[in-house]
Amino acid sequence: MAEKLVIIGNGMAPGRMLEHLLESVPGRYAVTIFNAEPRVNYDRIMLSPVLSGEKNFEQIIIHGDGWYIKNAITLYKGHKIVAIDRDAKTVTSDHGVVEPYDKLVIATGSVPFILPVPGNNLAGVLSYRDLDDVNAMLLAAQSRTKAVVIGGGLLGLEAAAGLEAQGMDVTVLHLMPTLMERQLDPAAGYLLQRAIEDRGIKVICKANTKAIIGHKKVEGVELADGRIIPATLVVMAAGIKPNAGLAKEAGLAANRGILVDAGMRTSDPAIFAVGECAEVGGHVYGLVAPLYEMARVAAAHLADAKSTAAFVHNDTPTKLKVTGIELFSLGDFADGDDRHEIVLRDASAGVYKRIILKDNRIIGTVLYGETADGAWFNDLKKKQVDITDMRDTLIFGQAYQGGTPLDPMAAVAALPDDAEICGCNGVCKGKIVGAIQEKGLTSLDDVRAHTKASASCGSCTGLVEQLMSLTLGASYNPAAVQPMCGCTILGHDDVRRLIKAKELKNIYAVMQELEWTTSCGCAKCRPALNYYLVCDWPGEYADDYQSRFINERVHANIQKNGTYSVVPRMWGGVTSAKELRAIADVVDKFNIPTVKVTGGQRIDMLGVKKEDLPAVWADLGKAGFVSGHAYAKGLRTVKTCVGTDWCRFGTQNSTGLGIRIEKFMWGSWTPAKVKMAVSGCPRNCAEATCKDVGVICVDSGYEIHFAGAAGLDIKGTEVLGLVKTENEALEVIVALVQMYREQARYLERIYKWAKRVTIDEIRRQVFHNLEKRKGYYDRFVYSQRFAQVDPWSERVSGLHKHEFKPMATIGLAQAAE
């Protein structure tokens, strides 16, 4: 009969231990797991992306329910073990389940360190350890108010970045003078602080928390110097301690953690301990790599009593999982007389690298901003390589050893087979290459499934892909596409897909995750990315004005002499004496040199000085005008004819429909400009058959046209279909434009997009498939909630004041003084 193996705790370490056991001695043990959390084993390292919204819980599950069933493992979810009876060899859960064991593994993990200050038990004070904490934080973040994170270490900063991404106003309090002082030296800590602050997170160092204040619910944090930081949410991330209480009560030897030998055995030979709760060789651990190593060792001893597997202490590199911040720290980096250091700083690139040497061997490394060589430095340190010969070029990284710089691919090719690629899972290059060759793996997902490389925190994904490329050669080739610009190898379609799939919600995240080759993009990709993010994350993404072309940044059209033109909206091309008078007054008041009627049935005032724009808009606004978006990649005009109101041939109220469409759709951003028209009869006086979207009214209803052009190219429209009612016409048009918004490439007009995806496909999706049509329509309506704000009145009220005023004016006298 199988021996009974009971595991207390269901985190990553015991999960990995079971994988090893199932592989080496399947069927040897009947396994029962007690998990205090009511759920399966998930990747705790990825809680930060869940908090920031980049991933959801399902995406970070390691073992789903099916895994436990398939492997005949009994999992008690939500059962906390309250006692271990070592004589009877049983454990008892808080729900009263008593389970006998032959072998017991304690994997109770760690508990957060809660500051012993008044108010630490108020509602709204959370720690950051498990999914429940994350869910509580996400709930609190819905208020979009102020949060304080206590602790500027790894966890605290990840929590702060996640809360900020959820729209909270976050302040980090850190007791020490610089952030992450255990992993970073002060210089890198400073760079990190600047990067954190750049995201709008406030950082207060040397902040000694005195009390958490509030009645029942938290209202703020009081510092020892008397300052009070208001907050409705306080996250304690000031450290963790091993959760060894249960083991101590059972009489097992314990210090900070549960004491185990190098074989992970406790003072009771039938009981093992793995994970954050275990103390081995005087160390306790919190990073995943050593915990996985514990899992391997424990599994070896459980599989074979004579095993000689032993846990060996190794410094583990630390990486911060905050999108857009590259940081790597390894080993010991304190100054010392017997130590030498090599430092590289590139302030403009935000790069700082420091290598600490002792006896010509690396003992520590801090990399900030550029961490690609982390694996190589780790390898040199681990193997204690004498670096004397490469000392002059060591800091530049592996690519510069041997005189000429290698390209990144050659650098990967040059790594030895035992070089570690995936730090989390301890996977070396040879193992990955071997798996690709032996098992015929062709996709990244396959490689992850077979080797675990890049399957935990994912930061080595690029390296793994390079290895795949090296091993598979031309057969591993993400389809050749025209890159968006010189900053990336990805085409527009891939970028759009990845923005959605990876839930990238700001430009830095896109550039980081999709490995942009420039530090901050170029004038080609930045406006495109800004549009994609505006379109894909309405209400979540904050428009990056510095990535918009000047016209969209100042909401007017720049002219050849640096002045601007101003075109107010005239709904459907209809105006009035009052509006015309207001325009005339503005023209006089501001000496506007040219007034012209546009092709889109409205009036253009040309030659307005930039400084005058807000005042011009203020006057126009008083008459009821809003921006006509004549400068926008967005909805421009809806031309109309007078239809049944006046025309003896009119079949429908074309003016009314045009105005209705314009009022419904104004303010929306689109990949390129969108011009529309509605004609009241097939005589087509509004010229609807050369527009991006057009409507020809007929007796029986509304014929909807699209994909016309009358600019660089001349092209008549295609007919999308005939609908009977105005409401349906509006719904189809909105759905069409939304489909275009979601799928087209930046600057691609509707006719070019339609040619690419085919007229039939578009017709199928927005005309025939009512469910899809409704989906597009609803998404457009949702995004309009955030888009329909008149940009002119916003600026009249003072938004972006700096845009319209010189920074300084230096007079003649001052200049000549």
Binding site: S348, A523, R548, K560, M807, I810
Partner: protein
């Protein structure tokens, strides 16, 4: 040459620019994403476009009129285009930005 205070670093948005009016024309003052500050005449060597209105990326700006890319460090057009805008010495001291104006001369007065 004389240093003139024109404002503080935070007056300019990161990856943005502001103008300074001088008797000799507009000067564009740029702030990059890494807080480097540059000043060049606000006049593209191509057709005189206002460089201060362009998109700033790394240490370069793309002119809003015809997409010439001008190096903020040298004022020279990058890529295949040829031309150069005048750079103005600039310094930042504890977040205050100064630009250097040419020494007192009759020509300056006349301007």
């Amino acid at each position: 040459m004389r240093w003139v205070l024109i404002g503080s670093l935070t007056d300019i948005p990161r990856r943005g620019a502001r103008c300074v009016e001088t008797p000799k024309g507009k000067i564009a003052v740029f702030r990059t994403s890494e807080d480097r500050v540059f000043a060049i005449e606000d006049h593209c060597p191509h057709k005189g476009g206002p460089l201060s209105q362009g998109i700033v990326h790394a240490a370069a700006v793309t002119c809003p009129l015809h997409n010439w890319v001008i190096s903020l460090e040298t004022g020279r057009a990058l890529g295949a285009d040829e031309g150069s805008a005048r750079t103005i010495p600039v310094k930042v001291e504890s977040d205050e930005i100064f630009i250097a104006l040419a020494a007192d001369s009759k020509a300056d007065r006349a301007a």
